[in-house]
Amino acid sequence: MKATLDIINRMQADGVIGQYAIGGAVGATFYLEPVATLDVDIFVSLPTASSGALLTLAPIYDYLTRCGYRTEGEYVVIEDWPVQFLPPTNALGEEAVAQAVATEVEGVPTRVISAEHLVAMALQTGRAKDYSRILQFVESGVLDADKLDAILNRHGLLGKWEQFANKFLKENQ
């Protein structure tokens, strides 16, 4: 993973991507016990995405292909990790990247989406595995309730949270 992050940091330094943050199962692993996964989700802002320009991942694929990395469907395999680059598709994703937590992996600087944003994004996506991840976060006690509440409120997710809590959390209260 260290080598993978090194390459992603180099992409940022070369201006191919803007700010980025690790999400998905690898991001959750920052806060929880290791969550088994075969790939890495990198939420990334694109430098050319402003002023209404068409959002395209082509510069990322071109750059990495030139560096000798191969693509597998929507993934690019970077130093043995299939990496999926995900430009934020809404305000929640943009905020999650902007407010990510700075950390290090074996001395390599990187950023991870906050626990509360990961939960809000999982709630918004709403698959069974997302709900399972939310429960892991709730049970772990790492969430800042006030911060999560503010995020859910800002992004219109309070109703969805209420439904989730009624279904999965009530019996534990």
Partner: protein
Amino acid sequence: MSEWLRKMLESKRRARQRLAALSFSEKLKLLEKLRDRSRTIALVREKPTKKYG
């Protein structure tokens, strides 16, 4: 809940807490091991099996 089940759940909870308390770098190394095992299992599954009968 039986005493045996309660002890087992408590033991699992402690193990999860212990793993969660590791550094991010250590946890990522564990993730890599898990990933490699999953790949090995997937490869074994892909091998054609001999059919009998």
